[in-house]
């Protein structure tokens, strides 16, 4: 059993290790080792296309994380207070948002944006000399949709596991509803909100397929990586890949650590 488990870990991490190893390879040939070098990191981070794509991706991921954490938490709190059809509708929407494949979300958003622009743009152009087009904002909007659902599920799980007597005690001690929320509910929910925000960040930072359709002329890092791989890769990609892989591994471990600590406190 131990051997089996070790093999599984090797299976899971060997490809990641391969990318990391090759990123330090001096030669241009991907599978031939010619010596240690950090040259490709220098090349990658002085390539304006890459740094710009990285910047775009970080902005999109940050906006997605913040917006979905806020809206997702609000939705979870709102759903706690609802019964009947409204709750059924929202539950269904949350599951649909999670179940519909990313590629379908991307495509359907694309055709919807294009259809709306076709109608709105002539008028906007005539009146304000303005044209709507897809870009960072449309990527953020599609990412937030999916992550609201994820955060709402995570926060709701936490709300349901929460000790009601704390809220009642706070109310008995004449705290205002807002006071109770700020001093009792929010601190208890904080770990799951934070973990949800980190997951939203990683999802958004990693997403290729949705952004591929709705990014318009903007280039995110995964879109850049995809096209670089298609063109036949330069070892720069391994350097970027290493940075991306290790950053998201670290973020995920932090998210898990926060969740675990929160669980222990509750």
């Amino acid at each position: 059993m131990r051997i089996y488990a070790s093999l599984i870990y090797i299976f899971l991490y060997a490809p990641i290790a391969l990318i990391v190893a090759l990123s330090f390879n001096a030669g241009k040939q991907s599978m031939v080792w010619t010596g240690f070098s950090v040259e490709w990191y220098g090349k990658a981070f002085s390539n304006p296309l890459i740094t710009e794509a990285l910047g775009t991706s970080v902005m999109i991921a940050l906006a997605t994380a913040v917006l979905s954490a806020i809206f997702g938490t609000m939705a979870a709190l709102g759903l706690e207070r609802t019964k009947g059809w409204l709750r059924i509708v929202f539950d269904a929407l949350i599951y649909i948002a999670i179940m519909v494949p990313g590629i379908v979300i991307g495509i359907s958003s694309l055709i919807t944006f294009v259809t709306i622009f076709d109608v709105v743009n002539p008028a906007l152009e005539a009146l304000f000399n303005l044209r709507l087009r897809m870009g960072m904002w449309s990527v953020i909007a599609t990412h937030v949709l999916f992550n609201i659902a994820v955060v709402a599920l995570m926060v709701r799980a936490r709300l349901q596991g929460m000790d009601r007597s704390l809220v009642e005690a706070s109310e008995d001690l004449y705290a205002t509803p807002m006071g109770t929320f700020r001093q009792v509910v929010l601190p208890l929910l904080a770990p799951s909100i934070l973990a949800g925000a980190l997951l939203a960040f990683t999802f958004s930072f990693e997403d290729f397929i949705i952004a591929f359709f709705v990014a318009g002329p903007d280039v995110t890092l995964p879109i850049y990586v995809f096209s670089a791989i298609r063109r036949g890769v330069t070892p720069e990609i391994n350097a970027i890949g290493t940075v991306v892989l290790l950053t998201s591994l670290l973020l995920l471990l932090i998210a898990q650590w926060i969740l675990q600590r929160g669980n222990k406190q509750a």
């Binding site: 059993m1 089996y4 599984i8 870990y9 299976f11 899971l12 490809p15 990641i16 391969l18 990318i19 090759l22 599978m31 809206f71 609000m74 939705a75 709190l77 709102g78 759903l79 207070r81 609802t82 409204l86 929202f90 929407l93 649909i96 948002a97 519909v100 494949p101 990313g102 590629i103 379908v104 979300i105 495509i107 359907s108 055709i111 919807t112 259809t115 909007a141 599609t142 937030v144 949709l145 609201i148 809220v167 009642e168 109310e171 990683t202 999802f203 359709f213 995964p222 990586v225 791989i229 890769v233 990609i237 890949g241 991306v244 892989l245 998201s248 591994l249 995920l252 471990l253 898990q256």
Partner: protein
């Protein structure tokens, strides 16, 4: 929160942002896609309003993509479940409690890192300079892995093991150990106990994991694109082709609608079947 603080206005305000997103970014696009699927392709690509079922009647033209997806996605899910089960069992039963969570997180972590980079690594591993070259070195020549269904299945297990292990782990960890002792006391062999108690009681976890993996595999694009290399393609690859290359939006919309319907129907029946079964087992046990 007690009842007197529940104002409908506050509830409405709390739900409003999510509601706006769900309407404009989910319901509206899905409706637009449904409408498009009954339309016609414009001469230069795109969409012309119409009401025709031609796009749906034409679905068999992309039959290969549907066939590949509907065989390799279930097969990949099954394979992932079979390989994940012993791992989840090991983590839940054999590993000391203080190490469990850390080891489980290490299984999950790769899923959250760049899918593009991880499958790119597999192109190198399965490509002619990778595994086949090493196999040739020990005398097994002429192995072709990349761009075969085998490569896609390896990729499926690799990509989705991190999602399959946790739900199975949770169901195994919750399992009442007294049931296993009782079974042993009553003279059952370990193998018997496994088949009669452990496996049936962990089925909900297996079902949850399989459902997650199946959904994601069915809609996948990068995995078949990189490891199937255009030879083993999924519905996702057909969609990218239809929307970005041939710009046949109405037909692409019909393919998307078909994908979503197939997905929801399979998941519905799968859950009904599996959950129904475990409920019966549980009832029988009690």
């Amino acid at each position: 929160m007690s009842t007197h603080t529940r104002s409908p206005l506050v509830t409405g305000l709390l739900l409003a942002p999510a509601g706006v997103f769900f309407f404009f970014m989910l319901i509206l696009p899905l409706l637009v896609m449904l409408v498009f699927s009954f339309g016609e392709r414009a001469a230069a690509g795109g969409y012309v309003p119409a009401f025709t079922f031609d796009n749906y009647l034409n679905l068999p033209a992309r039959g290969k993509a549907f066939l590949n997806t509907l065989t390799l996605a279930p097969l990949g899910t099954l394979l992932t479940a079979v390989i994940a089960f012993p791992m989840a069992y090991f983590l839940a039963v054999k590993v000391p409690p203080k190490w469990r969570v850390v080891m489980l997180v290490l299984v999950m972590a790769p899923f959250w890192t760049s899918q593009l980079m991880r499958y790119y690594a597999w192109i190198m591993i399965l490509g002619s300079k990778g595994l086949p070259a090493w196999l040739a070195w020990i005398g097994i020549t002429d192995v072709r892995l990349l761009n075969t269904p085998t490569a896609v299945l390896i990729g499926a297990v690799y990509g989705f093991l991190p999602l399959m292990v946790p739900p199975i782990y949770v169901s195994l960890e919750k399992l009442d150990k007294r049931l296993l002792e009782a079974s042993a006391d009553l003279g059952a062999t370990p193998w018997h106990t496994f088949w009669q108690i452990t496996l049936p009681l962990s089925l909900p976890g297996v079902a949850t994991g399989s459902m997650l993996v199946f959904i994601l595999l069915m809609g996948d694009y990068i995995l078949p694109q990189y490891l199937g290399g255009g030879k083993v393609f999924f519905i996702g690859n057909a969609l990218v082709d239809l929307f970005l290359q041939s710009r046949n939006w109405p037909y692409g919309a019909a393919v998307s609608v078909a994908l979503v319907i197939i997905m929801f129907v399979t998941v519905y029946f799968y859950m009904r079947f599996v959950l129904g079964k475990t409920d019966q087992r549980r009832a029988a046990l009690v």
